[in-house]
Symmetry: C2
Subunit: 390 residues, 2 copies
Amino acid sequence: VSVTAPKGFIANGVHAGIRRQKLDLAIVRSTLPAVGAGMFTINRVQAAPVRLCKASLALEEPWAVVANSGNANACTGLRGDIDARAVQAEAARLLGLKSEQVLVLSTGVIGQPLPMGRILPALRPCADGLAEGPDAGKRAAEAIMTTDLRSKESVAHGPGFTVGGTAKGSGMIHPNMATMLAIVTTDYPLASHAEALALLRPAVHESFNAITVDGDCSTNDTLVLLANGASGVTRTPATDAAFVECLRSVCMDLSAQVVADGEGCTVVAEVKVTGAANDDEARAIAQRIATSPLVKTALFGHDANWGRVLSAAGSAPYNGGYAHLDPDRVCLRYNGTLVLDRGAPTGVEPDVSGSDLTIELDLDIGDGRFMYLTSDFSYEYVRINADYRT
Amino acid sequence: VSVTAPKGFIANGVHAGIRRQKLDLAIVRSTLPAVGAGMFTINRVQAAPVRLCKASLALEEPWAVVANSGNANACTGLRGDIDARAVQAEAARLLGLKSEQVLVLSTGVIGQPLPMGRILPALRPCADGLAEGPDAGKRAAEAIMTTDLRSKESVAHGPGFTVGGTAKGSGMIHPNMATMLAIVTTDYPLASHAEALALLRPAVHESFNAITVDGDCSTNDTLVLLANGASGVTRTPATDAAFVECLRSVCMDLSAQVVADGEGCTVVAEVKVTGAANDDEARAIAQRIATSPLVKTALFGHDANWGRVLSAAGSAPYNGGYAHLDPDRVCLRYNGTLVLDRGAPTGVEPDVSGSDLTIELDLDIGDGRFMYLTSDFSYEYVRINADYRT
């Protein structure tokens, strides 16, 4: 269950022929008036659909999302903008909405024009098949997958309301944001775009902006939240708090699924940095460790080569220099086993044989902390990405 | 020919037993009074020998270098400092020098104490075998190799003088500085530590600080320049200019050899960024492209998946944000073939079948330019780094 778990949301996924066999075109819509917000890649190179989403959100509240896999419509010049607008207009016509109420999301290969001759005709069967229920949500979740091996769905229930979501992402996973598309729906009543955005930001900060697979920030990252109030819940401070927690839960769950399904992933590691000068420095250090190819290949080899963690931590870019770290104060634990005690090796070899690993680095400088999720670099990662287009 | 090419330098390399079979301990010394300088990693975690080199250079001009492979003496706490000083003192005693005149360099595994019981006894045969000539230089070059497949040597001749050098580095290759040790010698007369350092900086900026294999900045990076004036050349502005060019040539040559011998390297790519807002932004963008795992796996797959280059370029960290880039002005060439023309794909598929590749990105914003050398990410890279300690 995912985007169709909350009341008043229908979805569908069809095979338009952008990809060879699998579902590749999805629509998710609210059957009631909705409000919502989006968060997007901060890459300087932004795909046409990202630009169109931003422009549309400035004009109208979003009621529906149309998403395709197989083609990112990025680096496609003016033609890319025209194509994205044509998809938006045709979907809006079929759904009986204004163009700007439909957000367009694309993911896949960069630099090739959208196959409009396949997408436009497929929008009608996709719209005609919109339905409630878990099967419909599942079809939408599958239609946005690219190199993902598993579809990603999550749901959280609050008192009288529901939050549901789906995400895709497997490579180019890195802040901001993990390369991916995500669609989150809720029947909780939110007032406006502004409120939706204010609630979305902190949830994304510690979920989709705290995971990395390959350190590459994409041109298409988009997360959309649609809220239609269909639950009929009367808002109180208590229900608001419950909604924040449900939204956070769905974002954390989806982002963890993205890492676990990272391209070629065989090991998932939690990188916890504590005792940093501040949270931002903790984040910079955690990100540097989680991104290091040497750390990630050691994860794959089940080798607690912890010197690589230290080396990465010591060269975490921050504020034009490196984040603060005093080698003589650092403690490092692998799965709870102390391997470095205030800068001196303990000589104890930790057990890193499992497919989950916790790396805890305590800098003993201040109160800053941040936690990152990362995957390993495997032969399979190389194979997938060397052969991606062939 | 390398460090022994200039007059008045002797060298040796022996097997001390730090590594299983190969040569692992080297000495290079000037037979005349020398001056010199060092450039070092800017990682916050600096190995004991790096700290000792800096402290020694503040007190005395360097006459000799002792270097070991197989153990980096990094993250080894107070014991690491004591061990590095003991190696320095014993080598100085054998060479008849002051301790601070001997620089100690280490490379290899991080986090394990130096095997002093093997290194100290091996210093005498190493010092006793010091000799002139290419064979002696070759032994020193081999003794500093770790995962390198080939030893790296370079020489450049000016009017009446010579610059020679050796380097090791294969993984953890990234500014600042490419993880490596390098020893450069010359019989050109330099006045002081200060002059040697002033000449070394620009040469390193565009050589060892413009290459990446895995984006990891090490704890041990050290480049040492020793100058003994044995050539007897009388300095003029013309010979000074020739020396600068020879020094640059040796640094460029050695750094290119380091990339070509990068762990698992099958393709070397030159990433040229032009038209950036300034040279620093050009450098940030070139580095981001050269470091991207998605770009590097595509190099391995001989796949001109140029969208990944654009995506990386658009997310190059600079000054707390991203370096300037206007997607609608960008032109991109692979081996001279235009694939993206002012933001629009040309549809032309470039030939990327060779083991050398040139990627040229013109931003058309300003006059900034920088060139980076990088290698691909291959299965072999993963194998080497997953199994490094086993």
